[in-house]
């Protein structure tokens, strides 16, 4: 064991009201964490250099050898990996262990050609599930809980990650996967689920369906939800918390680094603690690649410190966020990341202005609409068209054209205030916007068809 389980010196920092899955790690002094990170990084760089020809070549091009990396302070010397590298190296190019040592793959849901396949040894799976277990315990989970996992199972990491974490905590695990919402709710009622794990948009959908089936939050036993795998806003959090009567926790991760659980929210809900005994985080300037000091907004970069089969060093996530080591009331000492403020993949440039779907959502929820919307961008001549389709709610429905037109104009005006450009808002019938039961189809960019 690389940490000392008998050391009691962290006890004074531990919050007595809080439960931890691995307190000796999660509440370790920062110096101790740094020590582990340095030790693991040196070993990991050697492991990658020796076993991954693709990365060795990148290091050689930069003139770096494993001997140059003595601590995380030297990390900046190493080359970055991007999604493009993952595509180039597909499928085995970044594999660092013989296949005979691997027990699992997971893959991103990307379209063909953009697919990423990640490999896991049993140790990698355990490490990942531990991370998810920490998240579940942080959300109040114990072996008394009934944990309903309705992230997709299969290649997607959401289902398997939380499923494994739930087992480690000892919850009764309901491996529902996504879809068949009426059945989800029936199980939720009959087996008295207390923790719900799914995408935030599916949580909203479950809330709506629950109401349609004639039930209210008083009829269910949920106390917490762990939601991730897509961007969501504070307003959406309140929406879910109200409709299901729970506390909603954020979880973050990506297939490239293992899956959900790279970071997770605690009771303070002011950011997600990164499991930095396994993943070292940096914030860089996305243009120059320069490492930025703590508190700066920039692109999040992860180095996997002890994964064996698919150990990515300095992987650029494309997520824009901020890191903070401010003392947390939960007693955990691991660094926190803000909710990603945008993803360069999601960011659209419309009439020269950066637009994130999350901004549209913020406006909608503030104005009393649901988060069911669709942005349609097209090009007519040389001008971008920008339309937002919004499902009308009973609260916002008026029976005159004058009032409905006013509603559309109010929304459009509020969006202009937020974005700087004016969308055309269209009210549409409830449930008419295409959405799979997992992820909502929020952006349709038809300009790509013209390019």
């Amino acid at each position: 064991m690389w940490y000392d389980k008998n050391v009691e010196l962290y006890r004074e920092d531990v919050n007595p009201m809080e439960r931890y899955y691995q307190p000796e790690i999660e509440c370790a002094p920062v110096e101790k964490i740094k020590e582990w990170q340095n030790e693991k990084l040196v070993r990991q760089v050697r492991h990658v250099y020796d076993n991954v020809a693709y990365y060795r070549k990148l290091m050689e091009e930069k003139g770096v050898t494993p001997d140059d990396i003595r601590s995380t302070d030297d990390l900046y010397k190493l080359p970055f990996l991007t999604k493009a590298d993952l595509r180039d190296a597909y499928p085995y190019g970044l594999l660092a262990k013989p296949l005979s040592d691997c027990v699992r793959i997971q893959s991103t849901s990307g379209t063909t050609g953009k697919r990423v396949v990640a490999f896991y040894t049993q140790k990698d799976v355990d490490l990942w599930e531990d991370c998810c277990a920490r998240a579940i315990v942080a959300a109040g989970g114990t072996n008394e809980d009934v944990c309903q996992v309705c992230y997709g199972y299969g290649l997607f990491t959401g289902g398997p990650g939380l499923h494994g974490g739930s087992h480690k905590v000892g919850c009764l695990t309901l491996p529902m996967s996504s879809g068949n919402t009426q059945r989800q709710i029936q199980f939720m009622l009959d087996l008295q689920s207390t923790i719900l794990c799914c995408t935030p948009s599916y949580a909203v959908y479950i809330g709506e369906t629950l109401r349609e089936m004639g039930y209210s939050k008083e009829d269910i036993h949920l106390k917490a939800g762990i939601f991730g795998a897509e961007p969501w806003t504070q307003e959406m959090r309140r929406d879910i918390e109200n409709s299901l009567g729970i506390k909603a926790y954020d979880i973050y991760g990506l297939t490239e680094t293992s899956g959900p659980g790279v970071s997770f929210e605690c009771s303070e809900q002011t950011g997600m603690h990164i499991n930095e005994d396994h993943f070292f985080a940096e914030i860089i300037d996305p243009e120059t690649g320069e490492v930025l000091p703590e508190g700066s907004k920039g692109e999040l970069v992860f180095t996997s410190l002890d994964k064996e089969a698919f150990p990515l060093l300095r992987y650029r996530t494309r997520d824009i966020c901020v890191l903070s080591r401010k003392k947390c009331s939960c007693g955990r000492t691991h660094i926190k990341m803000s909710k990603p403020m945008g993803r360069s993949d999601d960011m659209m440039i419309i009439r020269g202005v950066n637009v994130f779907p999350s901004q549209i959502e913020t406006v909608l929820l503030k104005q009393g609409y649901t988060s069911n919307y669709q942005i349609v961008v097209d090009r007519v001549g040389s001008t971008d068209t920008f339309d937002v389709y919004v499902e009308v709610t009973e609260e916002q429905f008026a029976d005159t054209v004058r009032e409905l037109t006013l509603r559309e104009e109010e929304l459009s005006g509020a969006m202009k205030l937020m974005l700087g450009i004016n969308p055309k808002v269209h009210l549409v019938q409830p449930k008419s916007i295409a959405r799979s039961e997992g992820k909502a189809v929020r952006v349709v960019d038809k300009r790509k068809l013209h390019d």
Partner: protein
Amino acid sequence: MRVKQISVFLENKSGQLADVGAVLAENNMNLRALSIADTKDYGILRVIVPDADGALEVLRTAGYTCKITDVLAVEIDDSPGGMARVLAVLSDAGISVEYAYAFISHKAGYAHMILRVSELEKTVDALAKAQIRTLEMNELLGK
């Protein structure tokens, strides 16, 4: 005095109206009056049925956004100028009309006019002074 009208939000797509009609028919909801206000994108269907609360529930369950609005029903002469006279009374009283539509009454020589106005009480008073009768739901239904 007040009549319950159901308004339904409909997208401007073919078949939408037929779908609502089918939902109401399946539940034995008899349409007494119907009017549509439409724009390029959507329409607002307004209907009067004997059981407004029941129809609201049925439509909601079918997934429609709908609501009940209190409107006024007025009896007018089924002759040229019948509707104009009512509107003139309201205009003189300074009442603005959001919308209005009319249909033939069961009673020969008369028509019914549905009005959505900003100030309901004031409208009733103004009409009473001009000796124009506002109708109850059962009269409207021809009972």
